[in-house]
Subunit: 395 residues, 2 copies
C-alpha cells in the first residue's frame, strides 16, 4: 500500500453530479437494506500515475488503471466504509472461500467518452441489480445498488483520464464480489470483499468486423435449470474454457451452447444469441432464448429487445430455438442473420455453425449484415453520447 | 514472509521413506510429463510455531499448521521449484482468473496417527489422479502425481507434530490449484499456483453419531451431464450453498441432490450416496450411482465398493436409483440403510428424506446401523493403522 494520507471522498475533486434515481430502488426500500454508503468512501490517491497504454492490439483486460475500489464486509461488523485506493494486489487467506468453493461473482460494464469529453455509463443500474441477484444466489450479503453505483461513479471519476478519447474504445469496469471466509467448511461466508477494477480497452472491431464460426455440440453444457446460468458467477465461466478450446480444435472460434434433448440453442461463447429470420409461421422475427433460468440476462440483450420492439418493424420474441429449427430455416432460406450480443462487442455476427459434422452457413452479408449493423450503430451512438438517451448515466 | 534462510529440502530432517510406486504412473509415462520435482523443493521453516488448538468443538478447517506448500507455474517458464514455507496469506492480482472465472480446484485427504506414532495417508495417489483430471477439465497444467504426493509427504513431515495423537482426529490436507492469469479474458491461464494447506480436525462424530435428514427437491441441481460434477472444481460447491440453506429452512440438515425427470438420487450434501436394500429383484444389494459424469468419484466411495465386493456377502452395484425406487422399497420394507460417504465422516447414516412434502423415514437402527458401523470401523482401522493394509502410505 502506498503511504499517501487518506482523504474523505467528499474532499476529493468530485463534480456535483448526483446519482440518478432512475431505475434505482425507491428510497423507502433502499433505506431498509444494510449497506455501505458512498458518502463514507475514503479516497487514497496513488502517489504516481502509470503511463496510458497504446490500445491497438492490447489484450482485453490486461492493463489496469491507477486506482481500485474495495469494500469489506463481515457478518459481525457489517459493511465497512468503501475505499478508493491505489491499484494493488489483494492479500487472501489460503483457505478463502472464493478460492476453494468459487463463492464469487462479477459484472462487466463500460465507461464511454461522449461529446465534449463527458464520461458516461450505459444502463449501469441494470448491472447493479444483476449483481445483487448473483450475490443472493452465491450467499453473499446484500447491498444498496444505488450506493454501489455511486461508489463506482466516484472511482471512474478519480481515474477519468483513463477513459479513452475515442469513439470506439472505452474503459471496462469490472465489479467483483468474493466470499473471503478463511476456513474450509462449505457454508455461507462470514466475510466478503467487493471490489472494482478498471481496464482501458480498444475497439472490439479494431482489426475489422469479422463474423465468427461456432461449434455446436451437446458434449458440454454451459448451464442447466436448477444451476447458476442466469447469474454472473465465476463457476459458469471456468467450466466453459475446455469446450472453447475444443471448438478451436474443430476449426471454430466459439461454442454454440446447446441444451436438452432437442438441442436448444442458448448462448454463444460468453454472449447472448439472436436469430433474425422468417419464422415457422412466415413472420419476420428477431428471436432470442427466454430467461428461463439457463440464460444470462444480458444488458445488451435487454437493450436490443427494447430497441427493436420500439422500432416495431418486425416481431420480437423471447422463445426457444432448436438446432432443428435453424437447420429447417436454413434449408428454406428463411435465416436472415444470427449474432451474439454482449458488453464487449455489442453485437458479433455469426457466419457458420459446425453441427453434427456439417457446416451450416449462416447468411452474413458483407461481414456485418444490416440488422447487426443497425444495432451496433444505434447502441454505440447512445453509449458514446451521439444520440441523446436516458439509458446513459453521467459520471 | 519470515526471513529465515531457505534450506534445500534434502537438508531438512526427512526420514528415508521413499514414495511408493504403488498406484503411481509407470516410470515411462511419468518421465514424459513436464512437472515440478519434489527433489527441487526448498524448505523455509517458520521462525516460531503456533500453539496446537483444542480440537473439541473446533469448526472444520478453521485452524492451520505452521507451513504450507506452494508451487508456481507459468506457460513461459513451466513449473518452478516447490516451496515449503511458513503459512502465509497469498498475494493475488485483482484480475486473477481463479477469482473471476473460478479456474480452481481442490482435493481433500487426511493424515492419520497410527500405532507407535507413525503418520500415514489413505490411498493418496487416488487423490493425486483425481486432481490431475480436475486440472485437465479446468485447463490448468499437468504435473506428475507422484512428485506432488512426495511434496505433500514432505509438508506433512515438516508439520508432523500437528497430526493429532488420537484414534479419531486427524490432519486434514487441502491441495488447491488456481489459475492466476492476471487479465480478464476468459481463456486458459498463462500462470497458475498449486498450494497445499493443512488443518487439524477433531473426530467427525465427537458429539455422538447422529443420522442426518435430507431435503430432496429438484429445484436445485448439483451437476449435469456436460458439466463439471465429476471433477472437484470450486464451482460445484459455491453453487450448492444456497440449496443447503433452503434444506435447513425445511427442517433438514443436508440436500439430497436429484437429477433428471425421474428424480435420480445422486449425491448428498458434499458426499457420495449409498443405499443398502433388497432391490426390485429381491437381491440384497449395496447400491451407489454410477460414475456417469455427474457423480464425484469419491475415494471413500471407491473404497467402500472395493471392500464390500471383497466381503462377497451381498450384491454391490453402481446403478441408477430414483426417488420412486426408494419410495417403493420403503413401502415394501426393503430398505435396510442409507448413508453418505466422504473423507470427513467416512460414512454418515441418513434417517429421513423430505420429498414432495412427505417425510420418508429411513431405517436407522440405533443411530448407526450395522453396515455403516462395519464400514466405519473397517475403514477407520485401516486409516489409523489398526489393520494392516496396502491402502495406507507412510509419511
Amino acid at each position: 500500500m502506498a503511504s499517501v494520507p487518506a482523504v474523505p471522498a467528499s474532499e476529493a475533486s468530485a463534480p456535483s453530479l448526483k446519482i440518478s434515481t432512475k431505475d434505482s430502488p425507491s428510497n423507502g426500500v433502499a433505506e431498509c437494506i444494510p449497506s455501505f454508503k458512498a458518502a463514507d468512501a475514503v479516497i487514497e490517491l496513488a502517489p504516481t500515475r502509470k503511463p496510458k497504454p497504446d490500445l491497438t492490439n492490447l489484450a482485453f483486460g490486461s492493463v489496469f488503471t491507477d486506482h481500485m475500489l474495495t469494500i469489506e464486509w463481515t457478518s459481525a461488523g457489517g459493511w465497512q466504509a468503501p475505499q478508493i485506493c491505489p491499484f494493488n494486489n489483494l492479500s487472501m487467506h489460503p483457505a478463502c472461500s472464493a478460492l476453494h468453493y468459487a463463492i464469487q461473482l462479477f459484472e462487466g460494464m463500460k465507461a464511454y467518452r461522449g461529446p465534449g469529453g463527458v464520461v458516461q455509463l450505459f444502463r449501469p443500474m441494470l448491472n447493479m441489480k444483476r449483481m445483487l441477484r448473483s450475490a443472493q444466489r452465491a450467499c453473499l450479503p446484500s447491498f444498496d445498488e444505488a450506493e454501489l453505483l455511486e461508489c463506482i461513479r466516484r472511482l471512474v471519476e478519480v481515474d477519468q483520464d483513463w477513459v479513452p478519447q475515442s469513439d470506439s474504445a472505452s474503459l471496462y469496469i469490472r465489479p467483483t464480489f468474493l466470499g473471503t471466509e478463511p476456513s474450509l467448511g462449505v457454508k455461507r461466508p462470514s466475510c466478503a470483499l467487493l471490489y472494482v477494477i478498471l481496464s482501458p480497452v480498444g475497439s472490439y472491431f479494431s482489426t475489422g468486423a469479422k463474423p465468427v464460426s461456432l461449434w455446436a455440440d451437446s458434449k458440454y453444457i454451459r448451464a442447466w435449470r436448477g444451476g447458476t446460468g442466469d447469474c454472473k458467477m465465476g463457476g459458469n465461466y471456468g467450466a466453459s474454457i475446455y469446450a472453447q478450446y475444443e471448438a478451436v480444435d474443430y476449426g471454430c472460434q466459439q461454442v454454440l451452447w446447446l441444451y436438452g434433448e432437442d438441442h436448444q440453442i442458448t448462448e454463444v461463447g460468453t454472449m447472448n444469441l439472436f436469430l433474425y429470420w422468417i419464422n415457422e409461421n412466415g413472420e419476420e422475427e428477431l428471436a432470442t432464448p427466454p430467461l428461463d433460468g439457463i440464460i444470462l440476462p444480458g444488458i445488451t440483450r435487454q437493450s436490443i429487445l427494447e430497441l427493436t420492439r420500439k422500432w416495431g418493424v418486425f416481431k420480437v420474441s423471447e422463445r426457444h430455438l432448436t438446432m432443428a429449427d435453424l437447420q429447417c430455416a436454413l434449408k428454406e432460406n428463411r435465416v436472415k442473420e444470427m449474432f451474439g450480443s454482449g458488453t464487449a462487442c455489442v453485437v458479433s455476427p455469426v457466419d457458420r455453425v459446425l453441427y453434427q459434422g456439417e457446416n451450416l452457413n449462416i447468411p452474413c452479408l458483407g461481414d456485418f449484415p444490416p440488422l447487426a449493423s443497425r444495432l451496433l450503430k444505434e447502441l454505440s451512438d447512445i453509449q458514446y453520447g451521439r444520440t441523446p438517451s436516458d439509458w446513459v448515466f453521467p459520471v
